[in-house]
């Protein structure tokens, strides 16, 4: 262990970076700093998106449009969707945890392209600020995050163009990140580390990055065409010039369905990291988990038109996409059974990380079941574009991805800061979020089935009560953020010292100090070929020091 630290590609410039707290505001090339920049920046946008969601829920407590002007309502829902997807979930599940963890997992000192990595992050804050500022300039885009033409062409152009520009920036950032992850995972692995030794999150990020690199450019191209239609009055999506509005939907969903997996696959990976540590068990069915991720990636490219069952698609197409979409349930189901099997027979510490992970499993199973139902054309033609769909995808992206983000924060906060988060506050946070979330979104299934379309500011008065219940749930969700924020700030200063490896975890990021040194390990990177080797050798356990485990219980 006396080997000197070898410089990475741009090691010299890393040493020139600012130290201390300031480095989080700098063009840092350190993957850990960039990861935390992604996380905090994403969380700030989450708070903004949450305020917008609150505005929507306040408007919907009464069946008439009374809280804000109708066009403002459409701007709010557009911003809410865009911010939550492009500025919160995608950057956090990919950028934040990916940047922080992947170099550890492959045994590298940084990402393959540190400078590109920093550029990718620094594209996000300006894009996000631009997007939000469009509301104050001339009104934000008001055609939903899907921006279907001709609506997006006929609504005020300034807001729509700013929206397009921001999404292009965010898409570019996402592509750069994806390239970096693929190169890091495939090319930067430490000698001796085989692909099938990698922690599951690496596989999830590899799959996700393939989706990002192959699908995001199509969205970018489509949005450029849309902007031409707005600015230069070209005819891509203008029926009067022979254009075709459904072509936009095909191109848009060719990205935006994989985007669902871009938000969810990394979450799957993170859960696969968290559960084995706190259950003290190996991840069940590693090999099938890897294959099911890859199956989801492949299938993810051939299911997009299930968003268009009512858009005027020919019957054969509806049939094909129904079948393809349904079959995504198979690899996804495998993953869920494997997680349950990981829980089975474990020594589960019921801490906040595990609670949020299990909350994710429960929510996502419901979202997955409604997803399979929505894939069936005859079922979908009734509930398409209704609150049933709203409920479904919030179960996927909030109940799924956001729960995992919170779980991951509880799990890796000790690594980020060297302090433990307060368990009691964490459990209160979990309870409030879980109850609030289900109270908010479960009733929306019924609303959709009974005739409430999505994206409306006014609705049939018979739905008032259920909408008010839903808004009450949203209020609980908003309140749930408070103990979390307090916990994060309080623990950063006064939290219990965590030690380097409070969870006794075996994955490589825990085999260094907390927080880790600038190039991840003082010595050389450890070779971890069994990241989930819990309980494999009972004799070794007897010798272990158990203080930390005791504490955590």
């Amino acid at each position: 262990m006396t080997i000197s630290i070898p410089p990475v590609n741009e090691g010299d410039s890393i040493k020139l970076q600012p130290k201390g707290f300031l480095r989080y505001f700098s063009f840092s090339l350190d993957h850990k700093v960039i990861g935390l920049q992604y996380l905090v920046c994403g969380f700030l946008f989450y708070l903004i998106g949450g305020v917008l969601a609150g505005a929507i829920r306040i408007e919907l407590t009464s069946p008439i449009s009374d809280f804000m002007a109708r066009d403002v309502y459409n701007q709010v829902l557009t911003l809410h969707g865009t911010i939550m997807i492009f500025l919160w979930i995608v950057p956090v599940v990919n950028g934040a945890f990916g940047n922080y963890l992947i170099p550890f997992y492959v045994g590298a000192r940084d990402m393959a392209f540190p400078r590109l990595n920093a550029v990718a992050f620094w594209m996000i804050p300006p894009a996000g600020l631009l997007l939000i500022s469009s509301y104050f300039i001339n009104g934000a885009a008001e055609s939903g995050w899907t921006a279907y033409p001709p609506l997006s062409i006929t609504t005020p152009a300034a807001g729509q163009l700013i929206w397009i520009f921001s999404v292009l920036l965010l898409g570019g950032s996402s592509i750069f990140g994806g390239i970096n992850f693929i190169a890091t995972i495939l090319k930067l692995r430490r000698p001796g580390l085989r692909l099938m030794n990698l922690p599951m999150y690496c596989w999830a990020m590899l799959g996700t990055s393939i989706l990002v690199v192959l699908s995001t450019p199509v969205l970018a191209g489509t949005l450029v065409l849309l902007s031409f239609d707005i600015v230069a009055h070209t005819g891509f999506f203008n029926p009067a010039l022979g254009g075709n509005v459904v072509v936009y939907q095909h191109l848009f969903w060719f990205y935006s369905h994989p985007a669902v997996y871009i938000m969810v696959l990394p979450a799957f990976g993170l859960v696969s990291e968290i559960l084995p540590v706190h259950c003290r068990k190996p991840l069940f069915g590693y090999t099938t988990m890897v294959y099911s991720i890859m199956a989801i990636v492949v299938l993810g490219f051939v299911v997009w038109a299930h968003h268009m069952f009512t858009s005027g698609t020919p019957p054969w197409m509806r049939l094909f996409f129904t079948i393809a979409t349904s079959f995504i349930a198979v690899p996804t189901g495998i993953k869920f059974f494997n997680w349950v099997a990981t829980l089975w027979g474990g020594r589960i510490s019921l801490n906040s990380a595990v609670l949020f992970s299990c909350g994710f499993i429960i929510n996502f199973v419901l979202g997955g079941i409604t997803g399979v139902a929505l894939a069936q054309v005859p079922f979908d033609i009734h509930v398409h574009d209704t609150y049933f769909v709203v409920a479904h995808f919030h179960y996927i992206v909030y109940g799924g991805s956001v729960f995992v983000i919170f779980s991951s924060i509880y799990h890796w906060y000790p690594k980020f800061t060297g302090k433990l988060l307060n368990e009691n506050l964490g459990r209160i946070h979990f309870l409030l979020t879980f109850i609030g979330f289900n109270l908010c979104f479960a009733p929306q299934h019924w609303l959709g089935l009974n005739g409430m379309p999505r994206r409306v500011a006014e609705y049939d008065p018979q739905f008032t009560l259920v909408n008010q219940i839903s808004s009450a749930g949203a209020l609980l969700m908003a309140i749930s953020t408070l103990p979390f924020l307090w916990n994060v700030f309080y623990s950063a200063f006064k939290g219990t010292i965590a030690g380097d490896n409070p969870w006794q975890a075996l994955t490589p990021e825990w085999l260094t100090s907390s927080p880790p040194p600038i190039e991840n390990w003082e010595g050389s990177a450890p070779l971890v070929t069994k990241p989930y080797g819990y309980g494999l050798d009972p004799k070794a356990i007897k010798n272990e020091s158990t203080e930390n485990i005791e504490e955590e219980i």
């Binding site: 592509i175 994806g178 191209g221 450029v224 005819g235 254009g243 095909h250 006794q504 075996l506 010798n543």
Partner: protein, 203 residues
């Protein structure tokens, strides 16, 4: 290293290794290739849109799209030849013959500019404008996006050419990355043109 004793399995799994200190290779070409795959997907989206329009949208009245083949065919030849000349430039650099390398690069850039000029001539002789109808719009979007790539390539070649000006310049047979990167990009742009030519003009 207290961690090692704490849990289960131990030394064969967690160990340090001398090999690790080998320097990581240069992965920039890999990164560029991945980026070009992404770029190619943008074109793929445009091609898919064009083919869909062609398959399902009826022609508007008064629109005939018999594109002249002579000029684009000449353009195809120009780009294919330029790929070959770029390859020769790379070979010259490996021999550390910067003069010859520069000559081939200049020729390549010239061919690229000739392509752009000939593309301009085609634009000005076409019977339709950008906003006439969806075919016109798609035609200009596809060829324009490709032309943008060619222009970028020409600029890149000029920079590479300047950097390779002498055996002591930035680009030598020891540092071939900028030239190789530009070459890979140029071949990519040529490949896209061949597909574009087949889809837009021949089909």
């Amino acid at each position: 290293m207290t961690i090692l004793t704490q849990s289960s399995d131990s030394k064969p799994e967690v160990q340090t290794n001398q090999e690790e200190e080998e320097e990581h290779g240069d992965h920039r070409m890999f990164g560029l290739a991945t980026f070009l795959v992404a770029d190619g997907m943008t074109f793929a989206g445009f091609f898919a849109a064009y083919l869909t329009y062609k398959a399902v949208n009826p022609l508007l009245p008064d629109s005939i799209y018999e594109l002249e083949l002579a000029l684009p065919a000449l353009n195809t030849i120009l780009l294919l030849v330029s790929s070959a000349t770029f390859h020769r430039a790379g070979q010259a650099l490996k021999r550390n013959d910067s003069k010859i390398c520069q000559r081939w690069l200049l020729l390549t850039a010239g061919l690229g500019l000739a392509f752009l000029a000939s593309q301009m001539v085609e634009y000005f002789t076409l019977p339709f404008g950008l906003t006439d109808n969806v075919y016109a719009s798609t035609f200009y979007a596809l060829t324009g996006f490709h032309g943008l790539h060619v222009s970028l390539g020409a600029i890149m070649i000029s920079i590479v050419c300047w950097q390779a000006r002498s055996p002591n310049g930035r680009i030598t047979n020891k540092n071939t990355f900028p030239l190789e990167a530009a070459e890979l990009y140029w071949h990519f742009v040529d490949g896209i043109w061949v597909i574009l030519f087949i889809i837009l003009y021949l089909l």
